[in-house]
Amino acid sequence: MIDVNRQGEVWVFGEQHGGQLEDTPIELMSKARHLADTLGVKLGTALLGNGVKDLAPRLIHYGADKVYVVEHPLLKVYQTNSYAKVMYDLIHKYEPQVVLYGATITGRDLAPRIASAAKAGLTADCTDLQIGDHEISKSGEVHKNLLFQIRPAFGGNIIATIINYDRWPQMATVREGVMPPAEPDVSRKGEIIEEKAEISQEDLPLEILEEHKRAKKVNLKAARIIVAGGAGVGSKENFKLIWGLANCLGAAPAGSRAAVDLGFIDHDHQVGQTGTTVRPSLYIAVGISGAIQHQAGMSQSQKIIAINNDAEAPIFQVAHYKIIGDLNEVVPKVIKAIKEKGYSILDARCSMLDT
C-alpha cells in the first residue's frame, strides 16, 4: 500500500508475449496520456520480459515518457507470481498514482494478485477513465483529481464510477478494444529505465508443459461492417441468415453472448462485455435484445440497424434504424434491397442464401 502521492506517475502495464506487444497497452496509451497530462505528471510503462527492450521505443512513440524495462531469463514466459512480484517491487519503488492493465486474461490474472499484495483497490473491466473530484457527503471532505474508474455494473442499465481515495495506487483493468489507439509519433523521445528483477526459481511455481495458440479466425475490431445475430435467430441452422447478409455486404458475422452460449456461432465472433468491443461504420443487430453488456460492446458504432420483433427490445434505444418485424422476413428483404441497389461484394455470395 502506498500513500496518496500527487506527483506519482500514471502507468500502463506493457503486456507482451513472446516479444510481441499486445494491442491493449497501445490502446491504453492514448487514454493514459490524457490522464497524465490532466494530472501534470509523466506517463510510464512497465515492460517485463526477456529480450524485450526493443519494444520500448514503440511504447514511447505511442505516448510513454518513460519505459521501465525489467529483463530476466525467468521473465521470458508470463507467470502470475513472478510478474506480480516484479510489478509489486516496481510500484513500491516508484509509487505511481495510477496503474492500468488491459482486461486480458493475463491482465485479469495478474492485477488482482498485485492489488492483494499491495492492499490497493482494483476495478475490473473499465470502459472509461477520467480524472475528477469526489466529495464525501457526510463530512464534506473533498478528494481532488482522482481516477474515475467507469464500468457497466450489476447486469442492469447501470454505469458505476469507482474511486479509491485513501489507498494507492489507483488501479484498474480496462476492457480490450474500447480505447481507440492514437497515431504513433516516431519522433517522440522518452526515457528508458532498466531495472533489475529480484526473482528466483521459487517465484515460478508453475511448470508450463504445453501451449497452443491459434490465430483468431476473425478480426472483428478491424471490420467496417458487422452483422450480428442473437438468440432471436433461433437456431444454428437459421444463423445462415446472418452469414448470408454478412457475405453480401463483405461484413464480418458476429453474435451476442446468448448466440454464442447457444452454440449458434463461435466465441471468436462474440460482441459485448465478455467478447470483443467493436466500433464499425455499420452494425446490424438481428434478433438481439441488446442487454447493457451487449450495448457496451457495440454502441460506439457509427450507424446501427436493429431488427427485432419486440418493439420494447433495449437494442432499439441505441439503433439509428429501427425495424420491428420478423427477422426471417426482414433479413431477406435487406439482402434483396442491397442486390437491387447494385451494391454487393459478390452477387454469387448473396445467392448463398437462396440455396
Binding site: T80, N81, A84, T104, I105, R108, D109, A111, P112, R113, A115, S116, K119, A120, G121, L122, T123, A124, D125, H134, L146, F148, F154, G155, N157, I158, I159, A160, T161, I162, I163, N164, D166, L206, E207, L209, E211, H212, K213, R214, S281, L282, Q295, K303, I304, I305, Q317, V318, A319, H320, Y321, K322, I323, I324, G325, V330, K333, E340, K341, Y343
Partner: protein, 282 residues
C-alpha cells in the same frame, strides 16, 4: 442499490453463481476419484444458507456460512481477506476451488486475491483437470487465443470456467434430505416460532438438541462470524475496501437520431439507399 452505491443484497434472492457450480462439480469429481473432504464456504446474508443447502445435496461434506453485518460493503479485496481467514480456520486444504467470476460484478478478482492471501499458486481460467496425484496437479487453462497445460505442486487455488464440466443433478432423495439442513440461527428462529411461550433456557435446550441431531445427520450448516475466524476488522467491510462508489448512473445509451423503418420492401430499400448515399455502405 444502497445510498452509498453499494448493492442492497437484502433485496436480492441468493443465487448459486453459475461458475461456482462448475467449481463444486469439479470438487465432487476429484473426491469421487481421489477421496477427500469437500467444504463449501460462502460469505453473505443469512439467506445465503440456501446456496449451502444446494451445496450439500450436490456433494459437499460440510457447509460454512460467513455472515456478519461487519462484512457489508466489502469490495473484492476485503472479501478475499475474509474468505482467506475462513479457509485458514477450516485448516489444511490441498485445493481451493472458485468459480472464475460472479455474474453480478464479473470482476474475476476474488480468486487471485484469495490465492495471494493464502500464499498459494493460482491456476485461473481452468477448463480441464488433466492429472492429479497427492502432490501435484496438471490442468488446462484458457489463455484467450488458445490453451496452456500447466503443472504445479499442491496446495493450489483454481478458478474454474463454465467449460470445465456439466454440473450434475442430485438425486431427488438426497435433495429432499439436504433441504432440511439448517444453520443454528435458523434452528433457533424455528424453535422460537414453534414455542412462543417458552423461556430462554428451554429454547436453548431445544436448539442444542436440534443442532446436535442435525449435526449427526450432516445437516448442520456452520455459521461463523468475523470474530470466530479471527479477522482483523480493519481489513473487512467498508474500512477494508479501498474502492468506493463515486456515482451510479442509470443511463440509456440513446442514438442521437433514430428512424423507424417499415418492415416492408419499400422501407428497407430506402434505408439501404440512404446508407449508400451516406457512404456507410460503400
Amino acid at each position: 442499490m444502497n445510498e452509498d452505491g453499494t448493492v442492497n443484497r437484502g433485496a436480492l434472492p441468493a443465487i448459486f453463481n453459475p461458475e461456482d457450480l462448475n467449481a463444486l462439480e469439479l470438487a465432487v469429481q476429484i473426491k469421487d476419484k481421489f477421496g477427500g473432504k469437500i467444504t463449501v464456504i460462502t460469505m453473505g446474508l443469512p439467506a445465503a444458507s440456501e446456496i449451502l443447502r444446494d451445496s450439500l445435496f450436490r456433494g459437499a461434506d460440510e457447509a460454512i456460512l460467513i455472515t456478519d453485518m461487519r462484512c457489508a460493503a466489502s469490495d473484492t479485496l476485503a472479501t478475499s481477506y475474509i474468505l482467506s481467514c475462513a479457509v485458514k480456520k477450516v485448516g489444511d486444504c490441498d485445493i481451493v476451488l472458485c468459480g472464475r467470476q460472479a455474474i453480478d460484478g464479473d470482476t474475476a478478482q476474488v480468486g487471485p486475491q484469495l490465492a495471494e492471501k493464502l500464499g498459494v499458486p493460482q491456476i485461473t481460467y481452468m477448463e480441464e483437470l488433466t492429472e492429479l496425484d497427492g502432490k501435484a496437479i496438471t490442468a488446462r487453462r484458457n489463455i484467450g487465443n488458445g490453451w496452456q497445460q500447466v503443472r504445479t505442486k499442491l496446495p493450489v487455488l483454481l478458478t474454474v470456467t463454465g467449460d470445465a464440466n456439466e454440473p450434475r443433478v442430485a438425486a431427488a432423495k438426497k435433495m429432499m434430505k439436504c433441504k432440511k439442513a439448517r444453520t443454528p440461527v435458523e434452528v433457533e428462529q424455528q424453535i422460537k416460532a414453534e414455542n412462543p411461550k417458552a423461556d430462554e433456557a428451554d429454547i436453548k435446550a431445544l436448539v442444542d438438541h436440534k443442532c446436535s441431531e442435525l449435526e449427526e445427520k450432516g445437516l448442520l450448516i456452520k455459521q461463523w462470524d468475523l470474530d470466530f475466524i479471527g479477522a482483523d476488522l480493519s481489513w473487512c467491510g467498508r474500512s477494508g475496501s479501498p474502492t468506493k462508489v463515486h456515482r451510479i448512473q442509470s443511463i440509456v445509451l440513446g442514438a442521437k437520431e433514430s428512424k423507424n423503418v417499415e418492415a416492408n420492401e419499400e422501407g428497407i430499400s430506402d434505408m439501404i439507399h440512404e446508407l449508400i448515399e451516406d457512404r456507410i455502405i460503400s
